[in-house]
Symmetry: C2
Subunit: 111 residues, 2 copies
């Protein structure tokens, strides 16, 4: 998982909040997650992501996109769709998705 923060993007942009609980033994999940990361970086208008997971608990990934067209392009990616099907069949106990249009963002960094 990446350790950087996404900050300093000029609004408007979009956040896709993906929150999930994994099954106990999500075999193949890490490899597919890494492959999805490679793929999404090729989507025009993709701006970055942040990801955190409490061990044994909730995972939250936030994807940042310039516009709805970029989100739609990622949603329509066939390899991504295949991974989503496998996720529902094998990996996730539950998940939720919230797509938000961001009009303001700010950040703090220690000097």
């Amino acid at each position: 998982m990446s350790d950087h923060l996404v900050a300093g993007i000029e609004p408007p942009y979009y956040t896709v909040v993906f929150t999930s609980h994994l099954q106990e033994d999500p075999s193949g999940y890490d490899e597919t997650a890494a492959r999805m990361q490679e793929l999404v970086e090729q989507v025009p208008g993709y701006l970055g992501y942040e990801s955190a997971r409490t061990p044994g608990g909730l995972g939250i990934t936030v994807g940042y996109f310039r516009d709805e067209e970029a989100i739609a392009a990622w949603r329509k990616n066939l390899e991504h769709q295949s991974a989503q099907r496998r996720g529902r069949a094998e990996w996730y106990r539950r998940y939720s998705v919230h797509v938000g249009k961001v009009e303001r963002g700010y950040s703090f960094e220690r000097e």
Copy 2:
């Protein structure tokens, strides 16, 4: 940290994505985070939150609010403002905030 997912809210609503790196020894952080959780639940229009932290790495908390008025009420809370100041002075290495208006959300739950 809570382990539930926020799902099934009727749009529009707002997500406040708060992503952070903590200092190495954030003394007092957990107690204040718990107190903030108590406080935010009293804000009219507060709808819930999700939180995850990779050990030693990134933490992401997503707060859900009905409207801008609810976000503003939380932002203006004096005890919250005091905690934010202490966060910048003592606890956080860096953080970013993204406020998004959600027009669509969906969820999946294993049967």
